[in-house]
Point group: D2
Chain length 186, copies 4
């Protein structure tokens, strides 16, 4: 009966807060969870999920070498896998999570972005959007008041950037969560 | 274009956390919000919205005499009204929020329970379920692993209670968020 | 694992079409369903679910005396109960459907309106909104292009009617599915 | 205010029926729509959207050369674009639909599959899942009673097929809509 969940949102909607809340909900009922975030995410230090409201906790990291099946084999009794920055999962990793939900009854809840600053899918989000049993959008607003669905990279003058690497090393890129109209109008 | 939102959940799903996150999202973009909670909710002290993750903030209180239209007339420039414990709104108050969304373009996001320990609607939730433009369920789990949809009152021996007042003054009542099956099986 | 579903919409969204499609989906896989509609609904003749696209079929009728548990006891092997015009169910009938989903593993899918022409809940929809395990909105549009959420009764001059019986015998009342703004502006 | 919608489902959930209902809803209010289906879909003859309930209508066809912007420039006054078999749209075509929604206020509602028999995204669904402003799942059931999310190709003996072309010319392939568990267990 377990499922693979994908809870997607534009940046700064509150994905990490929601993940920490779900972990708390499991744990206060006496269940154990394992929490992962992407190794490349060093905004707040390695291996940490941080809510912009304040709470944070140390978590495990995944990179392209992480074998979720092997990890779970080694620790029976886990009630749920929680993944932050799930857009950075590889395709085989998402397939693993889907298989574990359906063949081992181990649910996974993945939080992540749908698309990058050019409106292109990340590898992890592409596979999650293909396979997730339940998809929920976490909503946040554009400055114009509409629902934000896109992540616009902006330069120092707040102008839309259209070229560049999908992920900027060093994390100096600045982003705005915008609606489809503001994204298309630049 | 504004809407009346109802985000409902069983107890302890993380409604207050979500409300605080949405307030944060508005405020970090430079928008002002007004936040209300029910006067009778004194779990954490009067006039406070408290996330079980830790964050909390002082907020305004509403009771059956609160006139939301008058309050908003007095403070132009509010981007959104946020209401916690919205099941305790009166029917005319929810109608006010619906009218302000549609006639003044002022969105309201209400967080609350659907039903009490007997599976009966609260007055506020009944009217929100009737009028809300968008309804979203915030999910949490039953001990059995299914989605929790009901709020079961239990006694000191953890047995289901079926009789009593809708709201217990003093707050000694204990509750478990359970799925439909566990609720019906008691 | 069965659930009670409520699929609600303003008038003329296509609820009856959707019900007929779901019945078809069950039946082409070799499952049996039982379909009910309200006895008072005589728009198309008694005991008929009619899609505005053309398809229709004879179905059973329910009224306030219908005992769904007794009916189901008499016919084992049903895969699903489908109810059209579910806003006219009584509160005990919805409780029966919820109990059968959770204690007998018999799913029920109910299609109906949320509110009447005054924005008030029907008895059946009130209880479905309280107890349904899954609620889905079927969308249709207002003349202004927004999503229609309300059912506005209009007179011969297309003006909003605000007084009268919840259900007009004879069915001469005319309705428009409108958004919250058009409803509030009349 | 227009949006790009993606309503996805496993096979035989009733996507074509839903599309015909939406077209009907627009047209009975006096609005004009344009309806497209994929040229390669010749299950029921070229250029036809067919509900398994019976209704069908002649519609326009799209293939990889279709320029939706040019088509819409040529016919002002359209209220909505409806696309069946939208998984076969190309990526630039979905970008066109997203741009027309946000820059010309022309909504598009696309119905299609998420994945093929190997669990891989189609080009059109990948881009719709990336860009759609609203995504809704149309539900149907697996033979085991769970929600069907996957499309399993089966051979003459009803065994799962894992190799082959994404689309079989001639349409002799047989499919079953199954849940994640039945898909993974084969």
């Amino acid at each position: 009966m377990a499922k693979l969940f994908f809870r997607y949102a534009a940046m700064n909607a509150g994905k990490s807060t929601a993940l920490l809340q779900v972990a708390h909900n499991y744990e206060e009922r006496g269940h154990r969870v394992r929490i992962f975030t992407a190794r490349l995410d060093d905004r707040y230090g390695h291996g940490r999920v941080t809510s912009r409201l304040g709470p944070q906790r140390e978590v495990e990291q995944f990179d392209e070498h992480t074998d979720f099946v092997a990890l779970m084999d080694a620790t029976p009794g886990i009630a749920c896998i929680l993944v932050d920055e799930a857009q950075f999962l590889s395709k085989p990793q998402v397939v693993q999570l889907h298989e574990m939900a359906h063949l081992r009854n181990l649910p996974a809840i993945c939080y992540g972005l749908r698309t990058d600053f050019q409106g292109e899918l990340f590898p992890g989000s592409a596979t999650l959007l293909a396979l997730a049993d339940e998809m929920d959008e976490m909503k946040t607003i554009c400055d114009c008041g509409r629902k934000a669905t896109m992540n616009m990279r902006v330069d120092a003058n707040n102008r839309k950037v259209t070229q560049g690497a999908q992920v900027e090393i060093g994390g100096n890129a600045r982003y705005r969560s915008v609606c489809g109209r503001c994204f298309r109008q630049g």
